[in-house]
Each structure stands twice: as C-alpha cells, then as structure tokens.
Amino acid sequence: MEPSDEALCERVAKRDEAAFDLLVARYQERAYRLAWSMLRNAEDARDLSQEAFIRLYEAAGSFGGRSKFSTWFYRILVNLCLDHKRKHRWWKLWVRDEGDDRTDPILERQPAPVTDPVDKLSRERTMKELGAAVDRLAPRQRAAVLLRVQEDLATYEIAKVLKCSEATVRVHLHRALTTLKKTVEKR
C-alpha cells in the first residue's frame, strides 16, 4: 500500500531522502500549476514551487499532523506566492514583465469542444476575459478562487491555507465570483 502524505512527511522530518523524492513527485505538478495560476509567470512559478519544497524539507519536523499534509504544504506555497506578489506589486506598475505568460492564448492549449465557429469565437473571448478578470482579483480572493476551482479544496481547507476563518473565505469567494460574473454579463 502507498504511504500517506502525512507518513512521508514524518519520514522527511527524519531526513529520509526517498520520502522527500516521493512527496515531490506527488505534488510537483499541483505546486507548479497553482504557483503559475497565481503568478502567471512560468519561471517564477518554477522557482517558488521549488522553494516551497525546500521549505517543506526544512520544516517537516514542525508538521504536527493536525491538518492534512496538502493543506499544510499549500499554505507554504500560497504564502510564498502572496509575498512574491506583494514585493513585485510596485515594480509591475512601472515595468511590464517580459516573462509574463498572460498573453499566451489560453484556449489554444485547451480548446472548448464546440462546433459553431461564431459560438466558438465568442466563447473563447469570454474565457479569455474571464481568465484576465481572475488575474485582476485581489491576491487573497484570487488564491481562494484558485484553491476552490483548480485544487478543489473545501472551504475549511482554504481557510487553513489562508489562515483565516471559513466565513472570511466565503466572503472572499462571494466577492470574487460577483466580480467575475459581472465580467461575463458585460459581454
């Protein structure tokens, strides 16, 4: 039987390198995808997700097992991403980040299964605008939306990752989705 994430983390605390490699293999794609969704920059996403694994290695001993390993790990990662955004907030106002992947045609990578070309075009545009609107959300609102939609986390788990109450997460989600709904309605 496959060892649980929590058991692997305990082994990492005792400096079991094989357990660390296993955890990395399990979480690398999720970590990179979540970091990319928050930062929209492949290089930063790569760096920060790797940094999250290094922090996990260093702090494995402090994982008390009170929450799920995934929640604990996402908290490390999301905090790193929020800190990164905070540090680069003012810089981005002046300089357009050349490594920003925002211009990538999202739907070329994941086309919607529609047949009518006009309908398809309209749908693609809506999706693109929706994606851009997600990028414009306040960082914590965006984190809440991504953890819900992409990582399929429950409200109580998002609350643990963002270190706030469930009521606050509900408010974050409600405000974010109201903003996004308006974006779609404008079309």
Binding site: Q28, R33, R46, Q110, R148, V149, A154, T155, L177
Partner: protein, 161 residues
C-alpha cells in the same frame, strides 16, 4: 422574505453545508427567484472558471527535480558552512577583536585626565558663550546708555561752541 444567502451559495453548490443549513438554503431558493438565478449563474461560472484559468507551459519534470536537488544541496551547504570550525572561529575572533577595539577606545577617552563630561554637560558648555551673550543682548538699553555717556563730553563741548 429572509435576506439573500450570498455567501452560502458556493458552499451549497459544493454540498459542504451541514444538513440544517442545506435545508434552510434549499427552502430559501424555492421562494427567492433572484437567489435561484444567482445559483444557476454561479454553477455555470464555476464550470467556466476551471477552463478559463488554463494550464501553465510544460515542464521537464526530471530537470525540475534535478534543479530542486541542486538548490536543496546549496542551501544545506550554506547552512553547514556556518557550523564548520573555521567560520565559527573566524566569526568569534572578529567579534572579540571588535569588542577589544571598543574597550581600548573607550579606555583612552576616559584616561585623558579631564573630568568625564556627560553629554548634557558638554552641550550646556557649548552653549555657555551664547548664554553669556544673551545677558548682554537683554541689556541692550544699557549699552545705548553707555554710548551716550561716552559721548557726553562731545555733547557738552558742542553746546558750549
């Protein structure tokens, strides 16, 4: 009608609410067409969102893990370096030398023979000249009187002439 259930709708759609709350929301939705419409829109939006966020550029995972290993090793090396005897001795001797320097310097300051001044006393001392002048300035009228007195002889001879 009860107030709208804005923040309950997402947990309701995900089936996260406890039975009593779920029942309450379901009853409200039966009565409230606005919330019903909101719920439908939210359901669609959540479906669209997962597609609109998209996927990041591809990664060579073997390379990613190798890079991570290198970073981890570098971090470990850096930490271990500080605990080696040489850097520890170096840091301790630098700190000791600095302390010695400070002690010698402060000793020289106090052994000049003069009474040790406090900072406040030194500041008052610097202002002493100004304070003395201040008394003179206060008595400017007296200075004017002195001028008149010194010119009295001239005034007297002028009158005589």
């Amino acid at each position: 009608m009860a107030k709208h259930l804005d923040t309950d709708l997402v947990p309701y759609l995900r089936g996260e609410l406890p039975p009593a709350d779920r029942e309450r929301v379901a009853r409200h939705l039966e009565e409230c067409p606005d919330c019903r419409q909101d719920t439908e829109q939210l359901r669609d939006l959540l479906g669209h969102l997962s597609r609109s966020i998209g996927q990041p550029p591809g990664v060579n995972w073997a390379h990613y893990r190798a890079e991570l290993r290198e970073k981890l090793e570098a971090r470990r090396e850096r930490r271990v370096w500080w605990w080696r005897p040489a850097p520890l001795v170096l840091a301790a001797s630098t700190a000791g030398a600095l302390l010695l320097l400070v002690a010698v310097w402060s000793g020289r300051e106090t052994s000049t023979g003069a009474d040790p001044f406090t900072v406040e006393e030194a500041a008052i001392g610097r202002q002493l000249g100004l304070l003395q002048e201040y008394q003179v300035v206060e008595r400017l009228d007296l200075l004017e009187d002195l001028d008149v007195i010194s010119d009295l002889d001239g005034l007297a001879s002028g009158r005589q002439g």
